[in-house]
């Protein structure tokens, strides 16, 4: 096939067109489809070897793996190294559809599913998850001969998108780039960008250069980029998130509306799927979320009360309380102005925490929070879910709060930052991981990660995997939370509790406090990426470290975000061993981080995530105490004490086992706000 005939050739703009994938090794156009780089994944060795041979016979460049994780690793290592993926549906280590989602969101490659199963339901599942084709075993070589069409088609669509929006938007975008700094700062996303590792950004930049002539048809959705995307979506509200606005918010040169649109579509699918997982209505926290009514200082107390009540009822996971507190504090007035878009969309969380309501009139926020909580979707209905919801709520509120907080001043930012930093939520992370709710600290990353995590909870390494993607969206809102306020207290308790279901007690430690401190130190919270995070956040330490890193920066909400991003990126970069975030808080750190950075972003959802994370991390940690330090937002303080992740994990695990939260300082039921340093 000649390029000219296929989508590949459509670029006709310049000879360089054939290389339309930036950085891709483009096979000689004329030989297409020969040389098509195929990755085939199947646990059955017989099938695998037969497929490989057949594909080779088609003159394709074949790489085979017998495990989904290996496949993901390969794909991530070499983002532009493959053109198409063929995967079996039934695999022992990971469901084929899950892999499909990951690939779709992270790499945007066409994926063909195959199975001996030809039931309509399974095939339908493939369609809904975004597979571009479905082959029934035994696969005949004739069927494989045509797979190149999917590659071409996809590229053609991207190209077309580029063209449509490119010429117009390119121009518009160019000037925008110069304004990036301003714009981004206002959006906070810029912070992320700047603080984030620039690796991927640079790639985009390069692409940008070519955009004027030839837009890259394919955009690689890096972790950071996805985080930005999620943040933008959260900011706008999942309902109102239109590609154009998202694009503007993201402000990534070279990115077209079409890119965003297709990515958004995938993202929505993902969320929908997650929402089906565990719509827990956990959070009584929602009520806390309303903290808006209160001012920062008193918030903690006020909220604390509410939270306490809530917690007392056991509804509110300590974590939530913390988040709420944080949120409240942060907010001080703003009624959940946080764009909880994430949450709303999410439904997944649908926390309906009636309980929250009783807390205060904050309901409104709570509602929002609830929605945001959804971010956490996927939160297992177990304790975690509760926690998550609470986390979410709190995060939401927190997010909101933070939003509010930010304006309030440094204090809030501190909180936020600390919260974010706290990323520790290792425990959370776990939860998050399971619950896929990646504490999207400010970064929209989250929910995906967290939510995903939630469901898998068991150290779902996979969950964490999704790099930042998942987390990004949701968490951002959440993170925004309280970091601002120094209200440590809710944080600690909150965080611990909030750790999504993971460990009620983990939230020990004033979530807030933890947040602050943790956030800073935790460096790595949010492993919740889980689904999307490849990086199995195992490394608690890492997270902590990161948290520290992040904290430094996170003095401001903005920075928080950046920190979060950083944290996230760091975390992500860490490339945690795929291991497994199993309930380890690890993931949390990342999440929290992300969440925190979002400090500005009101996405409460993120906060929740963060909180969760934090909580998880915190569970054992004595961070709670930090309240004092928290205020300072000194990461150093936090870290010093920061709960050992092990502790958190233990806490989480305990929680998971259903251990009464009593262990936590914040007793779940009793939510002893006392602990919360107000």
């Amino acid at each position: 096939m000649k390029n000219s005939s296929g989508g590949k050739g459509s670029m006709s703009t310049a000879s360089s067109i054939t290389t339309w994938k930036a950085g891709d090794v483009v096979p000689v156009p004329d030989q297409f489809p020969a040389g098509l780089r195929v990755l085939v994944v199947d646990d059955d060795p017989t099938c695998l070897i037969i497929l490989e041979k057949m594909l080779r016979n088609c003159s394709y460049d074949v790489t085979k793996c017998n495990r989904a994780e290996t496949a993901l690793l390969k794909l991530r290592e070499n983002r532009n190294g493959f053109d198409i993926v063929i995967s079996d549906v039934h695999m022992p280590d990971m469901d084929g559809f899950k892999l499909l989602e990951h690939i779709g969101l992270e790499m945007d490659l066409p994926v063909i599913m195959m199975s001996a199963d030809d039931g309509k339901d399974v095939v339908m599942k493939g369609v809904t998850h975004g597979a571009c084709d479905y082959l029934i075993k035994p696969v005949r070589i004739e069927a494989l001969k045509n797979i190149w069409q999917h590659v071409v088609r996809k590229r053609k669509n991207e190209w077309k998108d580029l063209e449509q929006s490119g010429s117009v938007e390119e121009g518009d975008r160019q000037p925008k780039q110069s304004e990036d700094a301003d714009y981004s700062s206002s959006v906070n996303e810029g912070n992320w960008k700047s603080s984030k590792k620039r690796k991927d950004d640079e790639d985009e930049t390069e692409d940008r250069d070519d955009t004027s002539t030839l837009k890259k048809p394919r955009v690689v959705w890096s972790v950071e980029l996805h985080q930005q995307f999620v943040a933008a979506v959260n900011q706008l509200g999942i309902d109102k998130a239109v590609p154009k606005k998202i694009l503007e918010l993201m402000n990534v040169p070279g990115l077209t509306r079409e890119n965003v649109a297709s990515h958004l579509q995938k993202y929505r699918l993902y969320l929908r799927r997650l929402s089906g997982v565990s719509p827990h209505s956990c959070n009584p926290n929602n009520s806390f979320m309303n903290p808006q009514d209160e001012t920062f200082g008193p918030l903690s107390s006020v909220h604390g009360l509410d939270l306490q009540t809530l917690t007392a009822t056991g509804q509110l996971p300590a974590q939530c309380l913390a988040t709420l507190q944080a949120a409240v504090l942060g907010r001080s007035t703003a009624k959940s102005s946080i764009p909880m878009p994430l949450v709303n969309q999410r439904n997944i969380f649908s926390f309906e925490n009636p309980k929250l309501r009783f807390g205060e009139g904050q309901q409104q926020h709570v509602n929002n929070n609830n929605k945001q909580v959804n971010l956490l979707h996927g939160i297992p209905t177990t304790m975690e879910s509760k926690q998550l919801t609470s986390l979410r709520r709190t995060s939401q509120s927190i997010g909101n709060v933070s939003m509010q907080v930010a304006p309030h001043g440094a204090q809030s930012s501190q909180n936020n930052s600390s919260l974010i930093e706290m990323g520790q939520p290792l425990s959370r992370v776990q939860i998050l991981n399971d619950s896929t709710v990646p504490l999207s600290v400010g970064q929209p990353i989250v929910p995906n990660g967290i939510a995903a995590n939630v469901s898998t909870r068991n150290g779902i390494p996979e969950n964490i995997r999704a790099p930042g993607y998942n987390l990004v969206s949701q968490t951002s809102s959440i993170l925004n939370f309280p970091m601002n306020h120094a209200s440590e207290l809710p944080v600690d308790s909150f965080s611990l509790r909030s750790t999504p279901g993971m460990s009620d007690h983990t939230s020990k430690g004033a979530f807030h406090e933890d947040f602050n401190s943790e956030i800073k130190g935790s460096g790595g919270f949010l492993p919740t990426y889980d689904v999307f995070n490849d990086y199995q956040y195992k490394s608690q330490n890492w997270e902590l470290q990161n948290a520290g890193m992040i904290l430094e920066d996170s003095q401001h909400s903005n920075s928080l975000q950046g920190n979060l991003d950083l944290a996230q990126s760091v975390l992500v970069q860490q490339g945690f061993p795929s291991g497994q975030i199993n309930g380890q808080n690890r993931s949390v750190p990342i999440v929290s981080k992300a969440m925190f950075s979002a400090g500005d972003s009101t996405e409460p959802g993120n906060l929740l995530n963060v909180n969760h994370h934090l909580n998880t991390i915190r569970a054992e940690n004595t961070v709670r105490v930090k309240s004092g330090s928290v205020a300072d937002g000194n990461p150093s303080n936090l870290f010093a004490d920061h709960f050992g992740q092990e502790d958190l994990m233990i806490a989480l695990l305990k929680q998971q086992q259903g251990i009464a939260p009593a262990e936590n300082e914040f007793d779940f039921d009793g939510y002893s706000l006392d602990n919360i340093p107000v």
Partner: protein, 135 residues
């Protein structure tokens, strides 16, 4: 000639046994069919054992059974073993209905077909070996 005869025999066996597989074999990979057959042979034996074990355990885990059988069906269909594949399909139906008796009976069929196939494969591999020795 002996060699020719053997080679012809191998070729015809291959054709009769695996129409598709044979197409895949070529100069770059002359032992492809042999590789695949060996692989399938070992893998399917393992799977059969697993299924057997699962069937013997009480209570029967139908989910696991279905998984195993699904895998077995996949590989046998890929290799072109139609009869075995058909039996697998029947088995899976019983499995879905959680009909233990039906499963056990059906599994006997699967084993039988698989045994027949195994014998054929063994002969094939043996012939291949002989042919390569004379070559």
């Amino acid at each position: 000639m002996d060699r020719n005869r053997l080679h012809n025999q191998v070729a015809s066996m291959r054709r009769s046994l695996f129409d598709q597989l044979e197409e895949l074999q070529d100069d770059t990979n002359p032992n492809f069919v042999q590789e695949v057959v060996t692989l399938f042979y070992n893998d399917s034996t393992r799977l059969i054992q697993n299924i057997e074990q699962a069937l013997n355990s009480r209570p029967i885990d139908f989910c696991k059974l279905d998984d195993y059988m699904h895998q077995f069906k996949g590989s046998s269909s890929s290799i072109g073993a139609k009869k075995v594949t058909n039996e697998c399909t029947a088995f899976r139906e019983y499995c879905n209905a959680e009909n233990a008796e039906g499963c056990i009976r059906s599994f006997q069929q699967v084993k039988q077909e698989h045994a027949i196939l195994k014998r054929k494969l063994e002969v094939y591999l043996q012939t291949v070996r002989q042919a390569s020795q004379t070559a």
